[in-house]
């Protein structure tokens, strides 16, 4: 290890050490003052964000090519750290109210974020797998955090069992790729592929890795866990999980396939096409049938995974690849912002023991809490992709890039499923404004800050999306 290696590793090292020390410090913070733990964890995330952004523009590999710093990694890291901050805000605003506040919440969240960052930066399948596990294990625990509550326990157990199974797929794929190429480095695998030609082990290995990561980002045949886990887990955890785990999973997917297996594009593209189409279709259709807002948003997050995957379908078309990836990165930002906003609103309406989560509980919100209802309307419109919102701009870039690559069917399907999604997103808006009711929203300053800030960001970036898109297009993998 050299000093150069260490400077690449610095943000992650700081976050890991911060989390480890915080674990001990928290033991000495009395139970009523867990706000200290929350603020310390937010401080750690902010510090890491600062250090990570200082790496912007740098392109280098360290630890024998295992760890990568490039604009892509920096972009994803920034997004992940901001999601972590969002997760802390959301949690501090809600978990105490539900009587499940414990200091470990924030430490586990930090560990999970560091695992996500590792996934974005790893160029070695072993390190990537460790990142995946470091992301997942804290999330399994966090999903079961409202412990004596049965649905939370169910969420934790279900997520753990299926997640461990998916990790097995990823590991098996890694083993096959290692067997076929003799290395776990992504660059080494690419080299071995170009020498070996069309080798079956590469194909099977890549397919298994796709299954493993497809589970994490909830693509359709591997999505079964999502509604139950999103519904059962504490709302703050769900919000963080829906953003962070997806961002990290897609980052890893992009990096593995573009850096290690670019030659596999002719074989993988039809699979990605089908996965994306199925995910959009099924996610949106099933969301219509939901009565519970958490479940509805869970299916909506599945559908959005399909849209994000769309950016990855043309990865075998060299002239469109970069534009499509930039569109995908842009979409990740829009998804993360609206996602946090929507979950913060859900959290504000949630009462004890999972009450206040049905669609009917939102009736009358428009007159009772106009600001909250307005924010939720903004998020719903943006998730639908109604002009001129941020969601539309994201979808526009996505559809344009797949059309450029010649996947007209996928673009048409994207538009059609967006129309379908308008039904359930706008239904919530209609319920909020048109139906009388007595909702009981909680006015917690931290929750207010979360949904308020996210609503403002959504509006702001809807008006001036150019800087974001510029940033995304600078951050594509090369």
């Amino acid at each position: 290890m050299t000093a150069a290696d260490f400077s690449l590793f610095l943000p992650l090292a700081v976050l890991l050490i911060w989390a480890t020390v915080l674990l001990i410090v928290d033991l000495f913070i009395p139970k009523e003052r867990k706000g200290w733990t929350a603020s310390l964890s937010a401080l750690g995330l902010a510090l890491t964000l600062f250090l990570s952004l200082r790496q912007w523009g740098e392109t280098a590999s360290g630890f024998g090519e295992m760890l990568r710093v490039d604009p892509f990694a920096t972009f994803i890291n920034a997004l992940l750290l901001l999601s972590g901050l969002g997760g802390v805000l959301l949690a501090y605003g809600s978990i105490r109210r539900h009587g499940v506040e414990r200091g470990e919440y924030y430490t586990l969240l930090l560990f999970s974020v560091s695992g996500m960052m590792l996934m974005a930066q790893a160029r070695d399948l072993i390190l990537l797998f460790l990142g995946l596990e470091l992301l997942s294990i804290p999330l399994y625990v966090l999903a079961a955090f409202a412990l004596p509550r049965l649905d939370s326990e169910e969420a934790g157990l279900k997520y753990f069992l299926l997640g461990a199974f998916a990790s097995g797929f990823f590991l098996y794929g890694t083993a096959l790729l290692y067997g076929a190429s003799g290395t776990t480095l992504l660059s080494g695998i690419a080299q071995a592929w170009s020498q070996a030609g069309r080798n079956l082990f590469f194909l099977v290995g890549a397919a298994l890795i796709l299954v493993g990561l497809g589970f994490k980002v909830a693509l359709v045949p591997f999505h079964m866990w999502t509604p139950d886990v999103y519904q059962g887990a504490p709302t703050a955890v769900t919000g963080f999980m829906a953003a962070g785990a997806k961002i990290a999973g897609f980052a890893a997917l992009w990096r593995i396939f573009t850096e290690a297996l670019p030659g596999l594009a002719p074989d993988v593209t039809p699979i990605l096409w089908a996965l994306s189409a199925l995910t959009m279709l099924l996610g949106n259709l099933l969301a219509i049938a939901q009565k519970n807002v958490k479940r509805m948003l869970a299916y909506s997050s599945i559908a959005h995974a399909g849209y994000i995957l769309m950016a990855f379908v043309p990865f075998g078309v060299p002239q469109v690849r970069d534009v499509a990836l930039a569109a995908g990165l842009f979409y990740l930002i829009t998804y993360a912002i609206t996602n946090f906003g929507a979950w913060a609103v859900v959290s504000a309406l949630e009462r004890q023991a999972g009450q206040g989560l049905e669609l009917d509980d939102y009736a009358g919100l428009g007159s009772k809490a106009p600001a909250l209802a307005l924010a939720m309307t903004v998020f719903m419109l943006s998730l639908t992709g109604v002009p001129p919102t941020l969601g539309l701009i994201g979808k526009f870039y996505l559809f344009r890039s797949v059309i450029e690559a010649g996947f007209y069917g996928l673009a048409v399907l994207g538009v059609l499923t967006s129309l379908i999604s308008a039904y359930y997103y706008l239904r919530l808006v209609v319920i909020m404004y048109m139906r009388p009711g007595e909702p009981q929203p909680v006015a917690n300053p931290w929750l207010n800050l979360t949904w308020g800030a996210m609503a403002i960001l959504t509006v702001l970036f809807s008006l001036i999306p150019a800087p974001l898109f510029w940033w995304a297009s600078q951050s594509v993998l090369r």
């Binding site: 890991l16 760890l67 430490t107 586990l108 590792l118 390190l127 460790l130 470091l134 625990v141």
Partner: protein, 167 residues
Amino acid sequence: MSLELLLFLILALIAIASALGMLLSRHAVYAALFLVLNFATVAVFYLLLNAPFIAMAQITVYAGAIMVLFLFVIMLLGTEVLPPSPVLPWQRPLAFLLALGLLAESVYLLFFRQRLTLSLPATIDPFSGPKAIGQALFTGYLLPFEITSILLLVAMVGAILLTRKER
């Protein structure tokens, strides 16, 4: 046929049989014992592959520690014997059909699609004893090694958090 190949074939049969036994036995403790047998067979596979350290780690960690954990979990749940009735009766035949389909596809890919090759690199860097592993682990793989300790820490925190009541 060399002695090693013969040994491999016998062990492979035992491994498959014990894995099937684990899946099919309705008594959870028997299933666990089948799993021990399977772990032990896999350990001998590692020996055949010239990796004695991994073989011993397999015995101590898997057949030893992890099995103890499994047995505790079985006793914790208090359901040593599974109830026989499947909840969804159509699931099993369907799974069988789908598995057959997958098998047919694999056979087609393996034997009829000539464009695919099946070659593997002749050798992968040999690492056998604990010394070679130590050198690889602490020089090239130091980052994964340290991350592993973080992972163990998180697992420990998670286990304590989920099983202890807050005092």
